[in-house]
């Protein structure tokens, strides 16, 4: 599984706008580059990112080959209630990596 760095506050006040920052290790191979033998290196990118807050979708992104390796995605959401924030990255092979973080809302 790829390395992931996720930064979000562990605690927040109800109604507070919180910033969530995510970073995942991935080559984001464009599919346009040639390898040492002259053959095209097959495309291998993360194509979808999804964030759910207690099961409800709060942020989604579609990624394309122009995005650099190790994509960094930062976004904001409103802290509504305590619970789980789940992040999932899906690549070209339809493999999904999911990470879950807890948040306490007071």
């Amino acid at each position: 599984m790829a390395r992931v760095l996720i930064n979000l506050p562990a605690r927040a006040k109800r109604g507070e706008v919180i910033e969530i920052k995510t970073l995942i290790a991935h080559p984001m191979e464009t599919g346009y580059r040639l390898g040492p033998t002259g053959a095209t290196i097959p495309r291998d990118i993360i194509s979808r990112f999804l964030c759910t807050y207690n099961g409800e979708e709060v942020f989604r992104a579609e990624l394309y080959p122009a995005i650099a390796a190790n994509p960094f995605i930062a976004f904001f959401t409103v802290a509504t209630e305590s619970g789980e924030i789940a992040f999932s990255w899906t690549d070209d092979h339809e493999e999904t990596q999911t990470e879950v973080r807890q948040i306490t809302v007071e």
Partner: protein, 256 residues
């Protein structure tokens, strides 16, 4: 006669001083980077070099080789045992009678103590473990002096730094001593202090070693680049680290 001798000594001293920056005049590559790159380096959750550090932390605790030992089995907690180590490399290895850089030391530990195959030069694993070890010295001043047994290698590094080479017939010094702060095409010329290696270079989209950076410059002046771990490359690395003595390590730095 006495006056003449004094004049010679003064001239020699001036020549030696001209090659070095006054401590207050030295600038890390960080100071030449744009605000976005700096912000990326300063925030550990946005710094992609930290992915390598995390990977290195895992490797540190992974058993390897015929000895079935991990780095941690001998060295314990890296946060204490590796603190300040990267700031002292390249260091002299008496068994080989030559200096080793941090990558070379890690690979020697692998072959000698873990009895495992060395990591390939510039491989992801080697960079990750090097970044993890160097990260333990972040903020500490570079402590390479280049004296004593290292002196001949320091002198070789210095000579290589000032030697014109390649089809463009340029020395390192002509850009990084004489023209730093100016632009080479679109790029700012830094002073060439290796303060943050292995660095995450946005152009590479990955971590890379100082030697990879040196090879880049050499290809730029159309010279034959040194192989990874070549004695010349380590000597140049030694000279550059001694030249940056006292500057804080930033590993993993982010550079454009």
């Amino acid at each position: 006669m006495k006056a003449l001798l004094f004049a010679v000594i003064a001239a020699t001293a001036a020549a030696a001083a001209a090659a070095e920056f006054a401590p207050g005049d030295r600038r890390s590559g960080y100071d030449f980077a744009g605000p976005e790159s700096r912000a990326m380096q300063d925030d550990d959750t946005a710094n992609p070099g930290m992915l390598g550090v995390l990977e290195g932390e895992t490797l540190w605790a992974t058993k390897a080789g015929a000895a079935d030992r991990s780095c941690a089995d001998c060295h314990g907690d890296a946060r204490t045992s590796m603190k300040g180590v990267a700031a002292r490399y390249p260091a002299f290895e008496p068994a080989l009678a030559r200096p080793l850089d941090l990558e070379g030391r890690i690979n020697r530990c692998r072959t000698e103590h873990q009895r495992a195959a060395p990591f390939a030069g510039e491989s992801e694993d080697l960079l990750a473990l090097t970044a993890f070890v160097a990260y333990q010295s972040r903020g500490l001043p570079i402590a390479v002096a280049g004296d004593g047994e290292l002196r001949p290698f320091f002198d070789l590094g210095s000579e290589l730094f000032h030697r014109r080479q390649g089809q463009l017939n340029l020395s390192c010094s002509q850009c990084h001593d004489d023209n730093w702060g100016r632009r080479l095409a679109g790029a700012m010329i830094p002073q060439g202090h290796p303060t943050g290696y292995p660095v995450y270079r946005l152009e590479w989209q990955s971590l890379g070693s100082l030697q990879r950076r040196l090879r880049n410059c050499m290809i730029g002046v159309r010279a034959e680049p040194y192989d990874y771990g070549a004695p010349e490359a380590v000597a140049l690395e030694l000279y550059l680290m001694a030249r940056a003595r006292g500057m804080p390590l930033e590993t993993p730095a982010v550079r454009p």
